[in-house]
């Protein structure tokens, strides 16, 4: 609009020839600039860069629809319906919070005002042990030394997609050890995958058709929504657990959910459990495991037991694997499948190492073939065979990890208690399940998300709200404490205090 005035001046003879020629040139220049910025793809020799505002960075404020990818409508070539739903901006607080924390990560020295990450269940407590092992052993581990010669031949070529026998052996031994030695795992029943994420997805592909469903106790790990549903077309039916039972699963609830779902015409193919539970951190007792197996037998369905946190125990209870109950009770083993991985217990999420452990030969046969889409990288396999076979190291690691986990858990939970925030009873995991329902303005998901937002944007801590975990009671939050050092705990507590100070008498109420 401002350009019209000088143009007027040109027309009326003021400014003269200079403006008269300058302005159209300027206009032309700006037009070109505008077109250049907004045309896609750009007319230059470099390929166009992808839009920097990716939906992954979508803000919590839902005013602007961040689906700019769609509004721009780059070419009309179509992508699949599966892809369309996946391409949508990620609205789950679970992912939004993770992004925020990784964009501005807290560092005690270099970024003390950054966001403290309590939303990612990562274990950083024992890295020093692994680093020490690496520096003492690594030279020989990757490329291998045959008679002093570096030999890449063994790991460069095509390997069995479901993992080398050496690693299966080492993994079976490790799983047994970390679960307390009460059950032996057979290497031939181990299928290695690039992380537990594809392990879950692969099992879903094997056990259910599109449109079928799995029952899953709530609250559950937000990632299951992706792992089970993204590409398989399989549904998850929540089986709600309540704080009055410390979020224990009840067979009645399972049965109800089963019947309800069946009435609606959807076939249930199995139950998906995590034991130790994520996000609550409680364990399934022997009796409960038995009851679940019995239920599965009655309905003739599968059981997937995700035991990825089996080695992250801090409580006094003993972990009981589904495999243990199967062993001694004579149930049909063909319906049981265990998922494991090294991301939690051994702190190596980047290495992508997961396990499908099944007793069903047909499932094993299919799963093995499917691992071609998600195999463990050969150098990593070799490294891990070395590490997992180092009995002395593993022994020390397990002991030290448990001790540090116990310590951290105790400190953190006590700290929260000091703020009058109680945690659910738990014995394992890298997190605690905190009840902040007293701190939310309205006892609803909306209230919970408001608190979550405040904690993230004002308090600068990222925790996972219960709604992201499909918890039926508002106000619960998962707080991972294993990414912290002891000195960080007071900082976290202080920030929580600060974030909620005007909403309620946090400190004084009982």
């Amino acid at each position: 609009m401002r350009l019209i005035v000088p143009l007027q001046g040109v027309v009326q003879g003021r400014g003269g020839l200079i403006l008269g020629s300058l302005i159209p040139c300027a206009l032309f220049y700006f037009l070109q600039l505008y077109l250049k910025r907004h045309r896609s793809p750009k007319p230059q020799s470099n390929p166009p860069s992808p839009t920097t505002s990716s939906p992954k960075l979508a803000e919590m404020t839902r005013t602007s629809s961040r689906s700019n990818l769609f509004s721009r409508s780059i070419g009309q070539v179509r992508i699949s319906s599966r892809a369309i739903s996946i391409a949508k901006p990620n609205e789950s607080p679970y992912y939004i919070g993770l992004d925020k924390a990784s964009e501005d990560p807290y560092d005690r020295l270099s970024n003390p005002d950054g966001v403290i990450q309590l939303g990612l269940s990562e274990n950083r407590l024992c890295f020093d042990l692994i680093e020490k092992w690496m520096s003492e052993n690594l030279g020989h581990s990757i490329t291998g030394r045959d008679n002093g010669e570096l030999n890449i031949n063994g790991i460069a070529t095509y390997q069995p997609f479901d993992g080398t026998m050496e690693l299966k052996l080492a993994m079976a031994g490790f799983m047994s050890h970390i679960m307390g030695g009460a059950v032996t795992f057979e290497p031939s029943q181990v299928v290695l995958t690039a992380g537990a994420t594809p392990a879950i997805e692969t099992l879903c592909f094997c056990l259910a058709d599109q449109g079928n469903a799995f029952l899953v106790p709530t609250p559950y790990y937000p990632g299951f929504d992706r792992d089970v549903k993204f590409r398989t077309g399989v549904e998850l039916i929540p089986v709600h657990c309540r704080s009055t039972d410390n979020f224990a699963l009840s067979i009645t609830a399972l049965d109800q959910a089963f019947n309800q779902t069946r009435k609606h015409g959807t076939k249930i193919r199995g139950i998906l459990l995590s034991n130790p539970a994520n996000p609550v951190g409680n364990l399934l007792s022997w009796e409960m495991l038995y009851a679940i197996l019995d239920f599965a037998r009655e309905k003739n369905i599968h059981v997937i037991s995700d035991e990825i946190f089996a080695g992250s125990m801090y409580g006094n209870e003993e972990f009981v694997s589904m495999a243990e109950v199967l062993d001694s009770e004579g149930f049909d083993k063909n319906r049981v499948h265990i998922v494991y991985g090294l991301s939690k217990d051994l702190s190596l999420p980047g290495f992508r190492v997961g396990v499908i452990y099944s007793f069903n030969e047909n499932v094993l046969a299919a799963a093995r073939k499917l691992t071609r889409f998600s195999s463990v990288s050969a150098p990593t396999q070799r490294l891990l065979v070395s590490m997992l076979s180092d009995a002395r190291f593993i022994e020390e690691y397990i002991k030290t990890n448990k001790r540090r986990l116990q310590n951290m858990h105790a400190l953190f939970v006590a700290g929260l208690k000091g703020l009058n925030i109680r945690c659910a009873d738990s014995s394992a995991g890298l997190y605690c399940w905190a009840d902040m329902s007293k701190l939310i303005s309205s006892y609803s998901e909306k209230g919970e998300l408001e608190l979550w937002d405040k904690l993230l944007n004002v308090g600068k801590i990222n925790v996972t709200p219960g709604s992201a975990c499909h918890c039926i009671e508002p106000g619960w939050f998962r707080c991972c404490f294993t990414t912290l050092a002891e000195e960080d705990i007071p900082v976290v507590l202080e920030r929580i205090r600060k974030a909620v100070e005007n909403t309620t008498d946090l400190l004084n109420s009982s």
């Binding site: 070539v77 992508i79 990757i142 599109q210 079928n212 590409r231």
Partner: protein, 443 residues
Amino acid sequence: MAIEIEKPSSVRLSKVAISKTHGEDSPYFAGWKAYDENPYDEIHNQSGVIQMGLAENQVSFDLLEKYLEEHHEVSSWGKGAPGFRENALFQDYHGLKSFRQAMANFMEQIRGGKAKFDPDRIVLTAGATAANELLTFILADPGDALLVPTPYYPGFDRDLRWRTGVKIVPIHCNSSNNFQITPEALEAAYQSAESMDLKVRGVLITNPSNPLGSTIQSSVLNDILDFAVHKNIHLVSDEIYSGSTFSPSEFVSIAEILRNRNYKDAERVHIVYSLSKDLGLPGFRVGTIYSYNDDVVTTARRMSSFTLISSQTQHLLACMLSNHEFTQNYIKTNRERLNKRYDMIIQGLKKAGIECLKGNAGLFCWMNLSPLLNEPTRQGELELWNIILNQVKLNISPGSSCHCSEPGWFRVCFANMSEQTLRVALQRIHKFMEQRKVCSVNQ
């Protein structure tokens, strides 16, 4: 007392689990079984089956070994392992920036700088197998179709169809024009799909071609892209053998075609690449999707959660592929050695009276044994294949497993063995051909 007979488990498995789409019952894989049971060994088992059905590149291992020996630090994280922690925790599906940058550079080098790649458009997957499947999930819905020129890599039947539920409709190519893809063949395939009520979502080409061992000409690439634009469908170019062209000037990437068109219509084009063939590292599980479509990049990245590359491997390869001196030398030397092998096998086969399609890339040649068939049918081809497998003791891939419309063609791999073993294989073929000549003279 009644004996309780335990009821066999009746717990149900999915259609995917019981389906035969994995294709492992086909001759392509039956040959592997024969090899597994009786593998040739230069010293310990000289009468065993020689594996010529595996497209693996073993000719340049020494270059990799030398690099690793001279650069010990890439296999670790330095003294005291300071970088280890971040690496071990790194599970971001964007992948290590340094690794993506190194891959982009490597891909550019292979194309002689004739195309540029933006690291932010690279999505990492655990192998090209996963990349192709992932793209299929993204570009097509269950029941839709992709057009694929024949003959094609047998693994596509599994990778593109098994879990995705997508169908493959062949674009028939034949020897009359050296199996080149023609606009008529493209159109015919499209019509064929339509007549079956299938929605075509894209064309998937392999360039250089597997199993033909030849590059696709520039004019043909333009035709294919025009076709994709006209039908408003996608174009996936699997360029996994791009670094295995014997002469760099003979390979034209779809990226170059796009660049020449100023990236018009680029949003429908996606390139698949991997280090399994060019760098001979299939065990490392390193694949990429390079897409010019933002939606596809975003979605592929998210889906790649199911198939991430180990951060340890990314770190190692980022170092290796950023070493310009190493990559330049590797690419050049690898090409020369593959060329030499190719010449060796072609000459050897020629001496035995066997013709091959003129090839200029890849780890295999496309051999014409149609004159030897009892009958010019698939059955005739399988009979001949059986003889070659069980009597000559060579595992080669029959054209029918590659969906070739003309019987009698076979894919023969030459880079997954030593020169000595290749000589033995050629001797066996020579002997076999001699015997057949004698037999036919006596008939």
